[in-house]
């Protein structure tokens, strides 16, 4: 039974391709477009960020994605999270996804910390009851104390990151998507946040994460996908792929 559950495919990426069109200049007004068209300059440079990428992630696995800058790592994460729609191919997801691509992107700086917990939580897809129940936990983890009733435009950047991290990691999602492991705040909070990330990753959650830190990848991952200029260069056992990548 245990074994069978592990075999269940939770994310299936099938022949995904993503094409970006780069016009010479990004055209953002009608006048510009008309003049460009008249001059016959409306040409696009086609650019495939991903080409025929396929891989599968099983339930409970921790899969690392490695590759050099511009290899398409963030693009594939965005496609899996549903933010970008692939030009071709499909992605099948079997559970709720919490993307941690950038913390605190839904913050409104005129609202208080408390109001932002609910706003940001709603954006991440948490329910009202869940947030009500977890509110104290979030507040305690963020160490914000009475500052929580202050508009967050008065927060320091460390306070903002602590709040954002606490909201994002309070949930136990089925699939967690992480772009670089986040360690924020002072040394104490960094240790705490790293511990929380590790706890999430080892707690049966399926994790997909991008990192340039090979030590972290070796430590955490069951499997690694190596992307190289938009194609899967190598996929398999952590040690094997990491060794190959080093060279």
């Amino acid at each position: 039974m245990e074994n069978k559950q592990e075999q269940e495919v939770i994310i299936s990426v099938e022949h995904v391709g993503m094409q970006f069109r780069m016009s010479n200049d990004r055209i953002s007004s009608i006048k510009e477009m008309v003049t460009q068209m008249l001059r016959g300059k409306l040409k696009y440079n086609e650019f495939w960020a991903l080409k025929d990428v396929s891989f599968q992630v099983h339930r409970g696995e921790v899969v690392g994605i490695i590759g050099r800058n511009g290899a398409g790592k963030s693009t594939i994460l965005k496609i899996i999270s549903g933010i970008l729609k692939p030009t071709c191919g499909t992605v099948k997801r079997g559970g709720n996804i919490v993307p941690m691509l950038e913390l605190g992107s839904g913050f409104d700086y005129d609202l208080t910390g408390r109001e932002n917990i609910f706003l940001n939580g709603a954006i991440l897809g948490y329910s009202k009851e869940f947030l009500m129940g977890k509110y104290d936990e979030i507040l305690a983890f963020s160490e914000l104390g009475e500052f929580i009733e202050m508009p967050i435009r008065n927060y320091s950047s460390g306070m903002l990151m602590r709040l954002a991290f606490s909201i994002a990691t309070v949930v136990n999602p089925e699939i967690l998507i992480v772009d670089e492991i986040l360690a924020v705040g002072d040394e104490n909070f960094q240790r705490k946040s790293r511990a929380r990330m590790m706890e999430l990753m080892s707690g049966g959650t399926t994790v997909l994460f991008v990192s340039h830190n090979m030590d972290q990848i070796r430590e955490m991952c069951n499997r690694v996908v190596w992307l190289e200029s938009g194609v899967v260069h190598l996929e398999g056992e952590t040690a094997k792929v990491c060794d190959a990548y080093r060279i």
Binding site: F20, M33, K78, L101, L119
Partner: protein
């Protein structure tokens, strides 16, 4: 996470009961208009038939839910309950942020239209249409202003719904139609709040000029809902155009000004009936203009104290439907490209 937060049977019962009760109220108030329309003889049959269709569809939904099948209506209810909390949060954010740093706060929602009404009334009623023999010109003017300002505010704010949430759209997956919808909802809350001073002014004005609110005011929700859908459709179009062409922002200002003059807000329609060629063209434009029909609907309710002709309901509904369909079509076609352009 939370799959069945809603109780479908309750929703279906509430909708059916709502239809019966409000339908009965509507039939009573609009009886005169119904009697004069062409469908007078079949009205009762029609009323029951629509009720039957609603109840039948509700039964189908309940049946489908039990069998685990999905259909259009079910997925709509499901999405609505799933994103209810997010919509609530986004609307309350817009509302809170708007008045966060002002001393009078939400009170501005009443005060602002009230002061605008006073200014416009003084200017237009005293200087431009002083000799006008129109009855209750003050209310005529104010109803027009409130409705048009509502349209203007909603569309202008909804226009930036996608572009101003760019950071969110590129970072988290949320259905993108949520953003224009919440913007229209928060802006229309203000429209509803500005109706309070309009009604207050009507009551106070009426005390001195023999104009009394009649039960016809209960028809206001009907026109407001249709108006809201009309605005929503436009909001979908302008918010998606805004992503690709920022020029829309400036064009829209000009366009709404033109639209304002094409709507009988400050002038009576009778002014156009001069018989000249230009007058006829203007009259045609005003008649085809959807806003004319929404504005006049409200005026009929407030000033004449009766329901407008049934055909007006048809026109208002048709424009709302056309606008929504066009809006959804444009938005669906373009939404996948938003991420690439914002």
């Amino acid at each position: 996470m939370n799959k069945h937060k809603y109780n479908l049977q309750k929703i279906v019962w509430a909708v059916c009961a709502g239809y019966l009760v409000y339908g009965a109220i509507f039939s009573l108030i609009a009886w005169e208009a119904i009697r004069q329309s062409r469908i007078a003889s079949i009205y009762s049959v029609l009323f029951l038939a629509v009720g039957g269709v609603i109840a039948g569809y509700g039964a189908k939904l309940v049946h489908y839910e039990k069998r685990g099948k999905t259909c259009w209506g079910l997925s709509l209810i499901h999405t609505a309950s799933k994103y209810e909390f997010l919509i609530e949060q986004l609307v309350s954010r817009d509302f809170k942020v708007k008045y966060k740093r002002s001393i009078l706060g939400v009170f501005w929602s009443f005060l602002n239209p009230l002061m605008m009404m006073v200014v416009q009334y003084v200017v237009f009623a005293n200087f431009f249409f002083r000799g006008s023999d129109m009855k209750h010109y003050a209310i005529y003017l104010l109803a027009g202003i409130v409705m048009f300002n509502g349209f203007n505010d909603c569309t202008t704010q909804a226009m930036r719904a996608i572009t101003s949430n760019a950071t969110l759209i590129t970072k988290v997956y949320v259905p993108k139609y949520i953003y224009p919808i919440t913007k229209v909802m928060s802006a229309s809350l203000n429209v509803i709040l500005s109706l309070v001073p309009l009604i207050l002014v009507t009551v106070v004005y009426g005390l001195f000029n023999n104009l009394y609110l009649k039960p016809s005011i209960l028809l206001l929700p009907i026109v407001l809902v249709m108006f809201l859908f009309f605005i929503m459709g436009i909001a979908f179009i302008v918010s998606s155009l805004m992503v690709f062409f920022h020029d829309i922002e400036f064009l829209w200002g000009v366009l709404t000004t033109m639209w304002m003059y094409a709507t009988p807000i400050i002038y009576p329609v009778s002014m156009l009936q001069t018989g000249s060629r230009l007058g006829n063209i203007a009259l045609a434009v005003v008649n085809i203009n959807p806003l004319t029909h929404y504005v006049n609907f409200v005026r009929d309710i407030l000033i004449n104290g009766c329901s407008p002709a049934l055909s007006e309901y048809g026109i208002c509904f048709a424009w709302a439907a056309v606008s929504m369909l066009a809006g959804i079509a444009v938005f669906r076609k373009t939404q996948d490209k938003f991420v690439l352009y914002i």
